[in-house]
Amino acid sequence: MAGRSGGRGWSLGSRAVQAAFLIMLVVLWYLATTRWRVNPLLLPNPVAVLRELGDILRSGEFVDDLRITLTELAIAFALATAGGIVTGYVISRAAYLIRVFEPLFAGIYSIPIILFLPLYVLFFGLGPASKIALGATIGFFPIVLNTIAGFGYVERMLIVAARSMGASDYQLFRYVLLPAALPVILTGLRMGFTIVLLSIIGSETIASLAGLGHRIVHLAEGMDMARMFAYIAFVVVIAVVLNMIVSTLEARGKRQ
């Protein structure tokens, strides 16, 4: 109760609860593998997992898979960004286009596009191309929707005011439309990034020749559970770091 009024104390307190929750999960994990004797084929010992993780990092075995996954991610995200922003901007210029395409894209965005992975594999093969194409497709939708929302719903009064003072088309874009739309677009980019990462790792686990997702499934099939868990932990850390970077960039972009 006292913490609710003091903002800083409240935030520190909730951080402590969050950390305690995670620590408790690891403790339960440890107890399950030692005291409660869960089959190590289902749940390996966390200490063994940590040992495997150390081995993976020392040997540098992860480098090739990581490079492939990150390359797929970078290309897919770049394609989704370019396609989403250009398409979204063009649509936002006409009320008619917004009326037609916004609900259409929102509808497509709500279906699990990953279902089409087999089709993508048939078209683009088992290699990185199918992951890139699928990731770009999935990432396109939140980006295009937020770009439409950003550029399409700028307060009309601001546009009228700028025009009344003699703003040219370029000035209107540079000083009114862009700053109005930017925060919304940045949110779309962050959402797009998150689901591109998700869909690339996910599709690597379903059908692929290489990449971190592929490695994890490969180890699972070989019953090498401790090492598989170590790779999962590795991917979790990579994902958290990437998302933190993207969130920081988003916050910085919004401040300007």
Binding site: R163, G166, Q171, Y175, V176, P179, A180
Partner: protein, 274 residues
């Protein structure tokens, strides 16, 4: 003779929507009006009578369905940023820019040389009493201060004509009284021609040289009343007998029109529900 007329409105009508549409609205009907150079003309009338529409037509933001407007003898087509500046009701400041940047940006749009912008921005912000708030964002200011900033932006453009669309409409009574007094002092120093749309009878009498009273929709000018009182007007003017008499005269003129407008709105709502 023509030299004394800043804005000449002739036979202006404006319709929103196509003639066969359900949403077709005749906002303004065959309105003619002259605004003399250097005078402050208030437009007052019931809601939806087309006074804001007329203001936008004067400023070239809206092309009338019929009729024409001349600014300084030249036909008005599109915005004329060198001749006309606007102060809108609210939300017309760019929220991502500081007060100072907002004023600077207006002059950038208008095409003022860079060296001159800063001097003019400081001068106009000082004139409206915001010298200490240049680095604030609009969201950090009260409604009254935001309208002062919008006024500073309009003044910095140094146009001959200022069109104000209910600039104090969203403010509380006390704030708008003070702003009205300040505006009267400020404008007495300039030679600007001002058209000021308002709902407030007191504001109209306090500020205007002449008040144009609108009829209910489709709106047109019903009568023009002169307020012969020099600027800047003192607060005491608001309690004088002359002020009260003029205010009562305006109220009598407006009362029937407001009744008409209210019954229009009621029947329109009933139509919409059915």
């Amino acid at each position: 003779m023509t030299d004394d007329i800043a804005i000449r409105v002739r036979g202006v009508s404006h319709h929103f929507g196509e003639a066969d549409e359900a949403r077709h609205v005749r906002a303004l009907l065959d309105t003619s009006l002259d605004v003399a150079r250097g005078e402050l003309l208030c437009l007052i009338g019931p809601s939806g009578c087309g006074k804001s529409t007329l203001l936008n037509v004067m400023g070239g933001l809206l092309e009338p369905t019929t009729g024409n407007v001349e600014i300084g003898g030249k036909p008005a087509r599109g915005p004329m940023p060198r001749d006309i500046a606007f102060v809108f009701q609210e939300n017309a400041l760019f929220p991502w820019n500081t007060v100072f940047e907002n004023v600077m940006l207006g002059m950038l749009f208008q095409g003022v040389a860079k060296a001159e912008r800063e001097t003019r921005a400081r001068r106009s912000l000082e004139a409206v009493g915001l010298a200490g708030f240049t680095e604030h964002y609009p969201g950090q200011l009260s409604g009254g201060m935001r309208q002062r900033a919008a006024l500073a932006r309009a003044l910095s453009l140094e146009t001959g004509i200022l069109l104000m669309d209910e600039p104090f409409g969203a403010l509380d009574e006390q704030t708008r009284m003070i702003l009205g007094e300040d505006l009267s002092v400020l404008l007495a120093r300039t030679e600007k021609t001002i058209v000021f749309v308002t709902h407030s009878l007191g504001e109209a009498v306090f500020l205007a040289d002449r008040v144009a009273v609108f009829s209910a929709r489709p709106g047109t000018v019903k009568q023009v009343i002169s307020v012969n009182e020099p600027h800047p007007r003192k607060p005491e003017f608001a309690t004088s007998e002359k002020f009260t008499a003029l205010r009562n005269q305006l109220y009598a003129l407006l009362h029937d029109e407001i009744r008409k407008a209210v019954s229009q709105t009621a029947s329109a709502t009933a139509d919409g529900a059915a």
